[in-house]
Each structure stands twice: as C-alpha cells, then as structure tokens.
Amino acid sequence: MKRFSWDEMMNRYPAFFAIILLVVALIINFILQPNMFARDTLNSNMRVFLPMILLAAGQAIVILGGGIDISVGGIVSIVNTILATQVGLNGSPEKMWTFVLVSLGAGILAGAINGFFIAFLRLQPIITTYATSFLYVGFALFILPNPGGGIPAEIANVYRNTTPLGLPLAFYVIAVVLLIWMYIRSTRFGNYLYAVGGNAEAAYETAVPVTWVLFSTYVVSGFMAALAGIAITMLSGSGNAEIGVPMTLTSITAVVIGGTALSGGIGGVAGPVVGAITLGIIQNIISFSRIDTWWETFVKASIIVVALAAPGVINLLRRKKV
C-alpha cells in the first residue's frame, strides 16, 4: 500500500503542478524575450497581471468552499465606475482614498448579496451569481452609462511605476495576499473552508457554521473583486462599465490551472495566483513567438487546454504503469 503517493503530494501541495507549469512558461518566455526579467519589463508585465491575480485569489476561496462566482466581473465594473465617476480625472489623492474605501465596501456588499442568496436561501451558486452579474453590470451601467471619467494620472502612475527595492509593486501585493492566505489556511476558518467544500453535510453535523462559512467566501470574493477593480482602474485610469465582464471566465480558468478543483475542498490560493500569472505569460509567449496572426486565438486556447489536460495525462500514464 502506498498511501503517501502522488495523490497525497498533490493534496498537500496543490500548487505543485501550477508551479511547474509557470516555470516552463517562464523559460519559454525568457527564450523568446531575453529582456523579460529587466526591471521595466517585469514591472510592466506584473502590473498588468495583478488585477487578474487578485480576482483569481478571491475566486479560489469561493471555489474551495464548493461554490463558484460568476459575478466577480460585475463587481469589478461597479468599483471601476464608482472610482471613475466619483474621483474623476482631476480628483485629489484624499478623494481617491475615500472612494477606495467606498469601493471595498461596495465589493463586500455585493459579495454579501451573493452570499445571502447562496448560503442562506440555498440557491445554486452558478445560476445565482449569473443572475447577480446582470444586477451588478446593470448597476455599473447605471453609475456610468457611457465610458469616460477616470482617476488622476498621477495616482495611476503610482500604481504603474512604483518599484520598491527595484521589484514591481505587484510582487509585494502578491506576497501580502499569500501571507494572509497562509495565515488563514492555518486558522480554524481555513479548516472550515476545506470541510465545507469537501463535505458540507458532514461539516454541518460536526457543528461547523456552514452557512456563515459559505457566506464569508462570497464576501471575501467580493472584497477581492473590489481590489481587482481598484487595480484595473489604476492600470487603465479610466471608467467603463463593461471593463470587468471578460475577466470572470479567465479568473475561473486561472483557479483551475492553479490546481484548485472546481468540485471544492481541494487546492489553495497560491496555485490560482500562479495560474493567473501563467495565463499572462502564455499571452506573452504567443505574442513573442511570431506565429501567424490568424492562428493566435487557436494556439492560445490550445495551450490552455493542454495545460489543463497535463495533470490528467500524467495521472493516466501513472495508472497505466501500475
């Protein structure tokens, strides 16, 4: 009997495969673009990846708890339109801070609405958040019907160009996110998350406050989506009610590439963070490999499918050998 095997390891280090994938992607990217680790290149890449990294981290929490959040893009849009309309292109840093707080509140509120319907009314997550995604994008359009507005360029530049100790700002944000996750992972709440995602009924019988745990995952996701919304607003400097919409499905792909199972209870947040970076790097690879334009979409999607399939192929080969 080999109980401490591959499965055990994948369970313990869910990000393992995601990291291998990232390293492979980085190596390919480096071959194609030798200056990719130069300070400027690194920074310009990381600041672009950061919104998706934050979004994927929040999505990962929901998915770990056994749910899914299709409304994160809508929340990003709300935050973006709030900042773009309320701070404005000529706003002051104080105003920015105020509305950053308001945005975070809005994200938490939106997450709480999802959580209320899913945890307390026990509606199915995928269709509920699909419905609320209409609410949220609709609300964003209500705030800002036509693209426009924005935040002051100086504030956006802080986001774009801050590189403490020569490292991109995003590195620090990622480090903070991962540290917080590692802490949460080793608290009771972390255990609750895995228990609820793994077997909600057993968790309930064990006196885990299942409803509140579920609720909180959506609140966390709403909060992280708000952070992502702030990041993308800082990146783009402008307002557009549809800005978040295409981000939702990417965030789910990032989570899965990061080794967190959609069935819940397996994985973590580090993997999805790595997954989000990997997706960005794949885009770079496509861009620097000079493949025929018309093949770009196809090749990119195929690479993603192959990346998703790789763990399965390895498992299949392993099983054959046994």
């Binding site: 310009s44 000529n90 693209p147 924005g150 783009s236 402008s238 800005i243 919409v245 885009q283 334009t293």
Partner: protein
C-alpha cells in the same frame, strides 16, 4: 442577453476633454525598413478580420519596396489589461509605429503616452481617442449616421412611425451615431419614434428585436439601424411578411446587397440604403504611419477632432436603389461578409493630409 464582449465594431467621437496640447517628441531619424505594430483586442467580428487582412495586404506593397518589415500583429479577444499587455509587448519589440484599435476610450491613455514618449508614432484607428500625441484615423461617425437618417426621413416624406435599433448603448461610436440620428429627426416633427432598443451590434439580436417590434407594431413605416443588425432586421421583416415593407436602413455589406436584390424580386418598391463603414480606415492609417516615418510632414490644418490630431476619412460609398448594381458588381468576387470598403492610395493620402 449576455454580458458579451463589447463589439467594438466602429469608431467614435468622444466628449471633449480639458484642452491638452498635443506634445510631439521629435521622431528619431531612423531609416527604413520600419517595423509597424498592430494592437487589436477583438477579433470575433468580420469588420476586424477584414481590417487585419487588408492591413497585411497593404503592408506587402511597402515590404516590396523595402520600406517596412512584416507587421507585428497582436490580435486576439482580450480585455483592457490584455490590450495594455499587447501594447507593452509591441514596445518591448521595438516597433516604430503602432496602429491601435482601442477597446476602451481612456483605458489605454497612460500606456499610449508611454509609447509616444518613446518616440513611437501611435495612431488610433476606428475609434477616436483624446490622448496628447496620439493620432486618430477614421470616419466621422455622426455624419455617417446622419446620412442614412436623413435619407430615411426624406423617403418617408417627413412623416410616419419608425423604430430605432442601436448598437451597444454607451459605446462611443453608438453614442455619436445616435446623436446624429436625433439631430436629424428633430427636424422632422411628424416622424414618430415608437420604440428604441439595442441589437447589441449583432445580426441575431437585431433580428430578434425587429421581430418583437413587428409583432407589436404591425403597421410600421420605417426603421433606422446600423451595421450588421440591418441584415437581421431585414430578415425579420421578410419573415413577418407585412402587407407593406417598412422603409429601412441597411448596411454596406455584400450579404446585405444580395438580400436586397432578392427582396426586390418580390417587392420591387422596397427601399433601403447602404452606407459603407469601411474597415479600410486602418490600412489608410498604415499609409499615414509609413509616410510619417519616412519624414513627410503632416498638414496639421487638415486634421480635426477632439485633440486636433484626427484624420477624417470620407465615407467611400453609399448604395441606394439607383446604384445597387454597381455595388453588386464590387461584391462579385468578394466573400459575403465583405464590407464595402475604401482604402486611400498612397498618393491620395499624401495629397489629402500631408504638406507638399
């Protein structure tokens, strides 16, 4: 209704911003061949595929002359962050000029300015931006819409009930166009707009919306719509088969012209109009970029737009019943989704926009 990827099919004028003066860094004198980058964040539309295809085609001319290298094209469906990444990658590849079809009117500002500050010539095609140093190349959306709206009003003899099917509400191009339509209609008080809805710039939705309208208003006199939705609307009319076909606005696409020809067989009195919305503005933009790289001086007095850096391209072709055959002639060996186009020649570009 899905929160779909915004169909940035067309360009726009944009609400004027605080008057910033165009700041143009000196273009380094570097000889040919030049490398030109393309950033396109949305490829799932025929307008865009035709745009990319004709860019590649036109660039071949310059390559043959040794003026440019192969285009560096970044073209895939992506979001705002993705397009910023596209632009950053183009900069990292050291291109001399960038043609960008922006997915967001302001979202790329900082990135584009960075490119401008690196001495790269940046041209926004199909969508007017207000960024210092960034040129715009495209048609005048408002005028474009007014052409067909005026035609419709006159065909109706200045009275009747109509419906409007617009593109994405809030999309700059749509906003400009609807402004134009409103402007025209305000001069015809006897034309009543019964309803207005979005067809999301796609044929199927346009068809769906039009069938709803036809069910609710069986005695419609006319309808105004734009782009791909027009063919959907006409299909809906054909399916509903009302006693009298409403007068409708069409589009400059071969498919539409062929359908039009077919309808005329049964309904010889059917009236519609097709005003081209040419993807060719992008290759025209490419010509402008190459000439600028070659050191030719732009005649600033010929430029307009919000930041005074817009090259306004005239609408190349308008098809009505009178010249339908001519339009069909163009379509003879073109694919069905082909949009009636017009790419200015090098000479036309030089004559129109550059100092002699």
């Amino acid at each position: 209704g899905t929160p779909a990827t915004p169909t940035t099919e067309t360009q726009a004028t944009q609400p004027p911003q605080t008057g910033q003066q165009p700041t143009q860094p000196p273009v380094e004198s570097k000889g040919p061949p030049f490398t030109i980058g393309i950033s396109n964040p949305f490829i799932s539309s025929e307008y865009r595929t035709q745009m990319i295809a004709s860019l590649i085609e036109i660039n071949k001319e310059y390559m043959a002359k040794g003026l440019t290298t192969e285009l560096v094209i970044e073209s895939a469906d992506t979001d705002v962050a993705g397009q910023i990444q596209q632009l950053q990658n183009l900069m990292a590849k050291g291109v001399d000029a960038i043609l960008v079809n922006p997915s967001d009117v302001n979202g790329l500002n900082a990135t584009l300015q960075e490119a401008v500050s690196k001495g790269i010539i940046v041209i926004s095609v199909d969508q007017e931006l207000n960024v210092p140093g960034v040129y715009n190349v495209g048609i005048d959306q408002k005028e474009w819409a007014k052409t067909s709206a005026k035609w419709l009003a006159e065909k109706l003899g200045g009275k009747g009930s109509i419906v409007l099917i617009e593109g994405f509400p809030g999309h700059p191009a749509n906003v400009a166009r609807m402004e134009g339509v409103d402007e025209v209609l305000s001069q015809y008080p006897d034309i009543k707009v019964l309803a207005k809805d979005t067809g999301k710039w796609d044929e199927a939705t346009g068809q769906q919306v039009m069938s709803n309208f036809l069910a609710a208003y069986p005695n419609l006199d006319g309808y105004w719509t734009q782009d791909g939705m027009a063919i959907g609307a006409l299909q809906a009319v054909i399916a509903a088969n009302p006693a009298k076909f409403p007068v409708g606005v069409g589009e400059g696409r071969c498919q539409f012209l062929k359908l039009w020809e077919e309808v005329l067989k049964d309904r010889p009195d059917f009236e519609t109009i097709a005003v081209a919305n040419p993807p060719g503005v992008s290759p025209t933009g490419l010509r402008i970029a190459v000439n600028m790289l070659l050191g030719k001086q732009v005649d600033k007095s010929k430029l307009g737009g919000v930041n005074g850096l817009s090259f306004v391209i005239p609408v190349p072709i308008i098809v009505t019943k009178d010249n339908l055959q001519q339009g069909l002639e163009i379509c003879k060996d073109k694919p069905d989704a082909y949009l009636l186009d017009g790419i200015m020649t090098d000479q036309e570009v030089l004559n129109t926009f550059f100092l002699k």
